[in-house]
Amino acid sequence: MVAGAPPFRRLRSPWQTAPSTVHKGWPHVSETRAPSVALVSTEPDRCIRRVREALPPPADVRVAPVDQLASLPPRTAVVVDARDLPRPSLLVAAKRAVDHPDRTLFLVPAAQSESLTEELASAGGLRHVLAEPVRPLDLHLTLRRVCGAEPFPVQAYLPATPFAEHALAGVHDRPGALQQVERAAEDHGLPGRLTELALTVAEELITNALYNAPVSPGGDPLYRHLSRAEPLPDPVRPPGRFEVGCDGATLVIAVRDAFGSLLAHRIPDDLRRMVQPRGHRVVDGAGGAGLGLVMAYHSVEHLHIDLVPGRSTQVIGIIGLTGGFRRFARAGHSFNLFIGEGP
């Protein structure tokens, strides 16, 4: 089994499944060399085993003094256990993240995830944060990707659970997709507040995929300026895809578009704004309110974004379902932003 106590003991959940049994079925996951990980922690014993077990052998996982981060090879993944890390060390790690954002993962305690994530995002290089206690499968999937694995399908987050799908070509597709979320919530007896979160993240991601994502062949936004109360003048081509899966312990929503139009140069600012716990402002005028990603992030425990510029964007939202909204509110927020190479 995976080291560390799984957060949810009462229900059998795929999060408790040993990674070695989980990743067998993914032909998409294919590292070309053994992963190399440097762990920065004041108490490495509490997570080095988990990191080792989350990676396929022969992973090279070593404890690294923070002053050696700058001299590590760029391909080395760095896991920063931010619990109890002295502030000067945290700042050094944040600098490493600015230089190698794709290869730096921060583990932050849930109770401090808001403030630490906000501070790290302000430093400019934050792409990967997991709020502790992190679910084993979550750590496994994130580490694999941070070490260079290819993108995996959303089903990796809920193996053996069927997902409902819905094409997204226009606003008329939104009610059907939201009904799929409601059906999953009803089937599993979700409390109303958790259902509200699921519907919120679904609606925001779908609206983004329909109005914000489509761009012309030259990269110009097609519908971003439109009021969200107006239907789209033409169907989105190629259409996006909505997926939802739920096993009673975890609900996973994914929305994919075929444009990859999130602007790379805006990412640090957008992420900084997204993780702000309060003080958000709406954008006046036509178009979106500028809060879609903010509301999605604050409605899930884990937001995973896979961006391939000019090609596709997949956003996955994950909500743990045991213990009601209160547990959700205490769990903190995790996110990943993976940026692939575009055409």
């Binding site: 507040r193 919120t200 109360a229 716990p277 309060r278 402002r281 709406v282 309110a289 809060l291």
Partner: protein, 157 residues
């Protein structure tokens, strides 16, 4: 587009309205703005299920519109989904008086939710009971949010 937000006035004087459903880009507040221009208006918000990002903007525009009225606007039984926005979004409450909020409770024993209304009377303590008897099964239901931060918006008021 059919609005997912409904409202109904509960008196002939149009001084009280109950809002229900989803606040989104299609929300139409025009009748409520007119009512607020003519007399004091109380909005009961306990039946709001959810709000979208574009709904947040429509709501803030509504709050700005009623702020120009000489008559007060009071929000009562503010639903948890709107309390979240009060805590996150600048200007969400506008100049309205927030007279009470809904406190959500969740019972681990039977898995059901129930709500209590907490009056926000100026000068009086705002205590959130962490546990209450579940009206469905009699076991202890737990406050289904974080008591320390649920009313954080009042600190910035």
């Amino acid at each position: 587009m059919t609005s997912r937000l409904q409202h109904r006035f509960v008196d002939d004087a149009r001084s009280q309205a109950i809002l229900s459903g989803i606040i989104s880009e299609d929300a139409d507040f025009s009748q409520l703005v007119t009512a607020a221009q003519q007399a004091a208006l109380t909005l009961r918000l306990g039946e709001i299920e959810r709000i979208s990002s574009t709904g947040v903007r429509e709501w803030i525009l509504f709050m700005r519109a009623v702020a120009t009225s000489p008559h007060p606007v009071t929000l009562v039984e503010v639903a948890p989904t709107l309390v979240r926005q009060l805590n996150m979004i600048d200007g969400f409450g506008g100049s309205a008086t927030i007279a009470s909020v809904v406190l959500p409770y969740y019972c681990d024993s039977c898995g059901k939710e129930h709500a209590q209304v907490l009056p926000l009377t100026p000068g009086e303590p705002r205590n959130i009971a962490e546990n209450r008897p579940c009206p469905h099964c009699g076991e202890q239901a737990e406050f289904d949010d974080l008591p320390a931060s649920y009313l954080a918006f009042l600190d910035g008021a």
